[in-house]
């Protein structure tokens, strides 16, 4: 039996989906928000260092589970492997209300002006589909501001001379500096680098009816027990529900987007929390399932009119999967630098995002989030054995004396780094799973090397007695910063959605999430995903009011 028709179905209650739900519901549209995961709260904060969203050795605390979910990953050697969400190769983000924003580190970055104009700035790059965004930083600026104030950002980027102009300051001040912050700040000043307080989606004062961060040890990858981390689960989604126009259905897994013989989208088929197949008819559908799951859903929605899946007439769906080529350095110090003040990451520089001689792009550099003992046990400088008395000694001596500086190197999009659906393997509901294949562009590794050297220089100036590099591998990239698989563009033959996130040949289908990023900046992507979601929502509301999108 079909369910009662609504104006919009949104698939995925993550960073983007939560915002779209609130904007549409507040504008008076009836909305069903489908989320495959559960709605966790601060009470589910277990602070388990072996089972969380970042160190998932014993499983992912906020989904998906290893029993029902899997992916196929094709290695550089062509070898296929079935992987579970808790394995790194799965390239997981999260499955819960709030998506990645429930447990993220919560850096809230604006990309720089040049990040939207990579092709015009650097020219074509062989082996890459590098392009400009169809929108500029200026187009997005009002929506960045909206995200900063509605979701809540603390920090102080006034000293960042590289940033684009902002129309409003950040709503909250940064937290007081940690010991590590002060050491790095002094070193940056001596090096004439422009260090500043990282903008963070985290309350440092009472804001939006929630309290301030109490600076615990376990932040990135964990839930916040005092609800100070700002995600969509504790901001826009409750606001959407409050309108009375939005229904959130958790543990509901979208299977397919439904279309009719005229090429209009008519709704979504999904498995409900008891595994029953349901059909939710709607005037329009917004897919916000993340950069790996969104293309999977589009490609799984095949019909006579759309034999290759939705939005895929020109074979761009699932292409250009990118994340970040994280690189940096570790430094061992002579005296204690660790002061147990979370969240850890707090100071950054944008001196190396652009203008690096002979290179395309670069990365923001910042200090790491608090490193838990198990994380420290997995790294060491060359020469230190990985087991035995010497390793234990190293742990004891340096756990409190190690600073890491690293950054998300902007990747060159590669056409053959991609998400497909696997022809054989299915998930716990019988839906064909995502199949990931491809590799990083060689230029990413060059930039990573360069950035790593800069990180080491900063650490040395800060007093490091030894430094060693942290470098990315050549393999496929996606992971928590996954993006790019349904590129936004003006040319329907070389992109999937237009500047308003509307699928090119389909008036009532939208993709709003990290998938639409043309390039992914040298920064963590969540605030940009949020800003684009606000921008797209405004367009959806206006169009819907005009046409009601009845096919």
């Amino acid at each position: 039996m079909a369910l009662a028709r609504v104006n919009a179905v949104i698939v995925g209650a993550g960073a983007a989906g939560g915002i779209v739900a609130k904007e549409l519901a507040e504008a008076g549209l009836t909305v069903v928000l489908l989320e495959r995961g559960k709605w966790y709260t601060a009470f589910d904060c277990r602070k388990d260092d072996l089972r969380n969203q970042r160190t998932s050795l014993l499983g992912c605390s906020f989904g998906p589970d290893d029993d029902r979910y899997r992916r196929v990953v094709v290695g550089p050697d062509g070898q296929e492997r079935i992987v579970a969400p808790s394995e790194g190769a799965y390239n997981n983000n999260a499955a819960c209300v709030g998506g990645g924003t429930f447990s993220y580190g919560a850096m809230g970055w604006r990309y720089l002006e040049k990040d939207f104009r990579m092709r015009s700035t650097y020219g074509a790059v062989a082996g890459s589909t590098l392009e400009d965004w169809p929108i500029s930083y200026q187009d997005l600026e009002p929506y960045y501001t909206k995200a900063e104030w509605e979701i809540g950002v603390s920090g102080d980027d006034t000293k960042n001379i590289f940033k684009g102009p902002r129309s409003r300051p950040l709503p909250m001040p940064p937290p007081p500096p940690s010991r590590e912050h002060l050491i790095l700040k002094a070193a940056a000043e001596r090096l004439k680098l422009h260090a500043f307080d990282i903008p963070m989606l985290r309350n440092t004062v009472q804001y939006n009816g929630r309290g301030a961060c109490m600076r615990c040890r376990w932040c990135v990858g964990f839930a916040c027990e005092v609800d100070a981390k700002c995600g969509t689960h504790n901001t826009v989604i409750p606001r959407a529900l409050k309108t009375g126009n939005c229904t959130l259905r958790t543990e509901c897994v979208a299977k397919e987007i439904l279309t009719n013989g005229q090429g209009w989208v008519t709704g979504v088929a999904y498995f409900d929390e008891r595994g029953r197949l349901q059909e939710q008819p709607a005037d329009l559908v917004v897919v916000s399932a993340s950069a790996t799951e969104t293309p999977r859903l589009l490609l799984n929605s095949r019909s006579r009119l759309f034999p290759n899946g939705l939005g895929n007439r020109y074979d761009w769906v699932g292409r250009n999967l990118q994340g970040h080529a994280y690189s940096g350095a570790y430094g061992l110090m002579e005296t204690d630098t660790y002061d147990d003040l979370g969240p850890g990451a707090s100071i950054a520089i944008c001196d190396y995002n652009h203008g690096n001689p002979g290179l395309v792009g670069g990365a923001m550099l910042c200090n790491e989030f608090i490193r838990l003992p198990i994380q420290f046990a997995m790294l060491r400088p060359p020469g230190v054995p990985r087991w035995g008395a010497a390793h234990k000694d190293f742990m004891r001596h340096f756990f409190n004396r190690c600073i890491a500086v690293h950054g998300p190197v902007q990747e060159m999009p590669v056409f053959d780094s991609r998400v497909q659906v696997d022809p054989r393997v299915v998930d716990g509901w019988g839906i064909p799973v995502a199949r990931l294949s491809g590799a990083r562009h060689p230029q990413d590794l060059e930039v990573a090397n360069y950035i790593s050297g800069k990180a080491a220089a900063w650490l040395k100036e800060a007093g490091a007695i030894t430094t060693w590099p942290k470098l990315p591998g050549q393999g496929l990239s996606g992971g928590q910063h996954q993006a790019g698989t349904c590129r936004m563009g003006n040319d329907p033959r070389a992109s999937v959605v237009n500047r308003y996130c509307q699928v090119h040949d389909m008036a009532n289908l939208f993709v709003v999430d990290g998938s639409v990023h043309v390039t992914n900046g040298g920064f963590n992507p969540a605030l940009t995903i949020m800003a684009v979601a606000y921008m797209a929502s405004e367009h959806i509301v206006q169009t819907w009011k005009g046409t009601r999108m009845r096919g």
Binding site: L57, A212, W387, M395, R396
Partner: protein, 175 residues
């Protein structure tokens, strides 16, 4: 320290091998070998080592939980370790001196071992797994059955309890 029966102390026994055995997945003999192995990976010095910390208990517990898929790997690896020890020094691994045990470990790590168990499971692969699981059991949260009495966190001078955070103001003082 090497002989502490840490498995017995750690909660309900969900055994897959019979009731007289305190371990959940391993048999007594395998558990002894595992304890001896982990205690060379993180040996006791001024701070207790991995055996005392319950790392074998941690691994045993995960082998009936998230690491179920590795049961066979551990069986083969522990048997292989004893075969290699016998080939090198004429005794099973737990009966060797520490120096001899370290030599066996170095042989496993380099993959320079013979023996029929290592035909299916490369020794190096088992060794890598063992090192990372030992680190997890020693440095990870005690709730999973290792890091007894938070021994590694004390060694690293980490304040406890870990969940309680603090602003610069001391919130425990009443005004």
């Amino acid at each position: 320290m090497q002989v502490a029966v840490v498995g017995a102390a750690a909660g309900p026994i969900v055994s897959c091998v019979g009731t007289s055995n305190p371990w959940r997945c391993l048999i007594e003999d395998e558990a002894r070998t595992l304890e001896a192995l982990v205690d060379r990976i993180i040996p006791a010095d001024q701070d207790p080592g991995a055996a005392w910390a319950g790392v074998a208990n941690f691994i045993d517990r995960q082998l009936v939980g998230p690491y179920r898929r590795l049961q066979k790997t551990y069986r083969q690896g522990l048997t292989g370790t004893n075969e290699t020890s016998a080939a090198m020094f004429g005794k099973r691994f737990p009966a060797l001196s520490r120096e001899q045990q370290d030599e066996v470990l170095r042989a496993l790590e380099s993959g320079q071992v013979s023996g029929k168990s290592w035909k299916q499971l490369p020794a190096k692969q088992f060794f890598d797994l063992l090192v990372s699981h030992t680190m997890q059991g020693f440095y990870g949260d005690p709730r999973h059955g290792g890091n007894r009495e938070r021994v590694s966190w004390k060694m690293l001078r980490l304040p406890f309890p870990p969940v309680r955070g603090r602003m610069q103001d001391d919130l425990t003082k009443t005004s």
